[in-house]
Symmetry: C2
Subunit: 182 residues, 2 copies
C-alpha cells in the first residue's frame, strides 16, 4: 500500500507489515539510506510533483501554494554500478493476483521509455506477505500478451526474485536485483 | 541564470540568450523533449522539493500548502545508453570566471556521491555567451586543489566541451557528453 509522498497517513489498513510498525516504503527508504552510507548505490525518492502557484515568505520559511500533479513516473530513481534505476513499490492485499489497476498508463509508458534507453526499471511488489522484485520487461510482456486485469501470484513468483527480510538493511532489494540483472 | 522550477520569472536580467526569447533552461528542456521523442535518452527535470503541510480539494484540483525544501541535488536526472545522468545548468554573467557560490555544498556532495556510484554528473555552464559541458570530476578536482572561489574561464574552456547552438535540438548537449565520456 503506497501513499502519496509526504502526505500524512491518516490510518493504515490491511498492510501486512504495518503491525510491525513498518511498511514497504519504510523498508525501501531504510535500505536506500544503508546503500548511501555504505557507498553501494545512490537511490532516492522523487519529490511529489507540485505545480507551485504562489510563494510567500514567513518567519524564514518559504511557503508555497500549489496543485498536486498527476504522477507520471515512478517513485524511486537512482544509480547503482553506473546504471540508471527507476522503480516503484506496490502492495496488494489480494492473495492470488496483483491488480494492474495499481499501475496507471503513464507509469507503464514511463517504464517502457526507461527500458528503451537501456535503463533498469522494476516494481517491488508485496503480495501474500512476500516481497518480490519484478522486472519491467516481465510486466510489459505480461500486459502485451494477456487480457487479464491482474498478474497471477504464481507468475510473479516464477518471474520475480523474492526479497527475504534480513537484518541491516531489512529489505536488501539490490541483492534480488543483482540476481535478475547482473 | 537558473530559476526555481515552475516559479514565474518576473523579469529576466543579463541573460545572454534572453533576447532571443530563450534561456539555458529552455534550451535543455527542448533538447530533452527531442531526445525523448527520438528515443535517444530519457532526461527530465526533477520536481521542486516541497514539504507538503496541508492538502485541500477545490473544483477537482488538489491544492497544497507547503514549504520549499533546500535543494540538495541537481536539477536534471535521466538515462542515456543505460547510464545514470545527473546534472545542473548554471549561467554566469562574469566573463573571466565562474563563481563557485553558484553551487551549494549539498550539490557538491551530491555530485561526489553520483561519481562514487559510477554515475555521470556534470554542469552545463553558460559563460561568455558560450555553453560548456563541464564534468563533475573536473569540478571536484578544481575545488579540492584550489583555494579560489571561482573557476577561471580558461579552465572551463580547456577541460569542458563546448556545445555550439545548432538546429534541432538547439542545444545538443549529449554530443558534448559523448565526446567527454563515451
Amino acid at each position: 500500500m503506497i501513499y502519496p509522498n509526504n502526505l500524512k497517513k491518516e490510518y493504515v489498513k490491511n498492510v501486512s507489515y504495518a503491525k510491525r510498525g513498518m511498511d514497504l516504503e519504510a523498508f525501501i527508504n531504510e535500505a536506500n539510506k544503508y546503500y548511501d552510507v555504505n557507498n553501494i548505490a545512490l537511490i532516492y525518492k522523487k519529490p511529489t510533483p507540485v505545480t507551485i502557484t504562489k510563494v510567500t515568505y514567513e518567519q524564514n520559511n518559504v511557503l508555497t501554494k500549489g496543485k498536486l500533479k498527476c504522477k507520471s513516473s515512478l517513485d524511486y530513481v537512482g544509480v547503482y554500478k553506473g546504471k540508471y534505476l527507476d522503480f516503484d513499490a506496490k502492495s496488494t492485499t489480494n492473495k492470488t493476483s496483483f491488480p494492474l489497476g495499481n499501475i496507471c498508463d503513464h507509469q507503464i509508458n514511463h517504464i517502457k521509455k526507461v527500458l528503451k534507453n537501456s535503463g533498469i526499471s522494476f516494481l517491488i511488489i508485496e503480495i501474500n506477505h512476500e516481497i518480490y522484485l519484478f522486472k519491467g520487461e516481465d510486466l510489459i510482456n505480461f500486459i502485451e500478451n494477456n487480457n487479464r486485469k491482474s498478474i497471477p501470484y504464481e507468475y510473479i513468483k516464477s518471474y520475480g526474485s523474492e526479497v527475504k527480510l534480513k537484518y541491516n538493511p531489512t529489505l536488501n532489494y539490490l541483492k534480488a536485483l543483482d540476481k535478475l540483472y547482473f
